[in-house]
């Protein structure tokens, strides 16, 4: 098999497999402790992203000099902040700080004497901060763990494809790995019939946001595609969480609620196919 395909499959498969084993144990052990379950799932998710990054980029850069190199550090920091939000940290304040910090990672070097960079910082901070409120609070209250994870998995997985099309195989691989890991968590959350907590969506937001922003700014991912993928999970706001004890009823509800997410993701992938140049000759 093609060497690059094998590498990509390993990059996506190994972190997902590790996530499956670790999260299955965690879901089983802390089934009746939602806070501890959320912390573990969030930390494993961040760990999976860090491993996926390591496999894709072949190492970490320290100190990070460019925005993409911040991804593993950001994943770790967001996961820790997310865990602390359950105890002492003010959720909104810490989310605002994380949003501003992420925006500065991208625009810090251009900020002096450049009002456009300042506008970018403000805009990215607002988008991230509003998204944290929407995803952490609103959607989590309206979705089952499986619905939320699968919605995010579809966006991140499709993100892998469109980022690859947009000219970054490596960032695409990281996004694809995120999608696969979230898919694994969705399967576990479905069978354990539990929620996944608020750490996981927080990690998703900042990492997927960074991947999309990097791909738009430094590669050729169309902004329209990025925006569509970003808003795709918000479709889960429509409807109510139904706690179905039966697997068949849960599956039916899951499929119905995913339709709107799938529609947005499909439009996003279609837009990428239309707007990005033909595939590379690497």
């Amino acid at each position: 098999m093609n060497q690059m395909v094998v590498q990509s499959l390993q990059g996506v498969g190994l972190p997902s497999l590790a996530e499956l084993i670790a999260s299955a144990v965690w879901f089983g052990v802390f089934r009746k402790h939602p806070r501890l379950r959320a912390i573990g799932i969030g930390l494993f998710f961040a760990g999976g992203i860090i491993w996926a990054y390591l496999l894709a980029f072949g190492g970490f850069a320290f100190p990070p000099r460019e925005s993409g190199q911040w991804i593993p550090y950001l994943a770790g920091a967001v996961a820790i902040v997310g865990c602390l939000q359950g105890t002492r940290l003010q959720r909104k304040v810490s989310n605002l700080v994380l949003s501003l910090g992420t925006a500065l990672i991208f625009f810090w070097s251009q900020i002096s004497g450049n009002s456009l960079a300042l506008v970018w910082v403000v805009a990215v901070t607002i988008v991230l901060f509003v998204s944290t409120i929407l995803l952490q609070q609103l959607i989590e209250d309206r979705c089952s763990g499986a619905e939320l994870s699968l919605g995010l998995a579809l966006s991140a997985g499709a993100g892998g494809i469109v980022i690859f099309l947009g000219g970054s195989a490596v960032l695409g691989q990281v996004s694809g790995s995120m999608g696969a890991i979230l898919g694994v968590i969705a399967v576990l959350a479905f069978f354990f019939n539990t929620t996944v907590g608020r750490v996981l969506p927080l990690v998703y937001l900042f990492i997927f946001g960074s991947l999309l922003l990097s791909s738009c700014l430094f590669a050729q991912l169309p902004w329209l595609t990025a925006v569509l993928l970003w808003i795709a999970p918000w479709a889960l706001v429509i409807g109510q969480r139904l706690d179905q004890p039966k697997i068949s009823a849960r599956a039916k509800s899951l499929l119905i609620r995913m339709l709107s997410v799938i529609a947005l993701v499909a439009i996003a992938v279609g837009s990428a196919l239309l707007l990005t140049p033909p595939s590379s000759e690497l």
Partner: protein, 190 residues
């Protein structure tokens, strides 16, 4: 009294003139220069590319080659591998990240004459924000008047670097770690 100082003054001026004459500055002529690279593809072949936009200067001291100096700046978004989509990928975040790091530079730190016409030029090479020492094996091609009477000096340098040293690790080992560089320059005396 003034007569005593005149020979001294003349000798100082003469010495200064001699020094200037032996350290000549040249500006790289981009129309008669090239920066070409070679990278392995899946271990079965090589892909060649070039950078179309670069600039630089070099100084030649005829009496003391160790005082020679070279400075080159390459525009990373001018990479051309005869495949526009691939060029876009190379300019992107996986490889050169030209949007964030618009130039690669080489600044010599020492020059050693190894033979009649060959030199080892060691310097700091900066790619994607990472600076590492790099040694160029340089050969003098020739020198003399150009078509407009300007004095020209031609050189060719080769070296090999590992892209992973500069944290460009995407698609290893399918796209080889080792990159061969060939830099051919003609400089016009300033």
């Amino acid at each position: 009294m003034k007569k005593h100082y005149l020979p001294l003054l003349l000798s100082v001026l003469a010495f200064a003139g001699t020094t200037v004459a032996h350290a000549d500055s040249f500006k790289i002529d981009p129309f008669h220069s090239a920066i070409i690279f070679k990278v392995g593809h899946f271990g079965v072949g090589n892909v060649y590319g070039r950078f179309d936009m670069f600039s630089g200067t070099f100084t030649l001291d005829q009496n003391d080659p160790s005082k020679d100096a070279v400075n080159v700046e390459i525009k990373t978004d001018s990479v051309d591998t005869n495949a526009p989509k691939r060029d876009t990928d190379i300019k992107g975040p996986d490889f050169l990240n030209a949007a964030q790091f618009s130039t690669a530079t080489f600044k010599s730190t020492s020059v050693k004459k190894t033979d009649d016409k060959t030199y080892e030029v060691t310097g700091d090479f900066t790619l994607r924000g990472v600076t590492k020492p790099l040694t160029l094996n340089v050969q003098a091609i020739g020198s003399g008047p150009g078509p407009k009477g300007e004095f020209r000096s031609g050189w060719e340098a080769t070296t090999t670097l590992k892209r992973s040293d500069f944290e460009v690790k995407a698609l290893l080992p399918a796209v080889s770690d080792e990159i061969s560089l060939r830099i051919a320059v003609e400089g016009v005396k300033q």
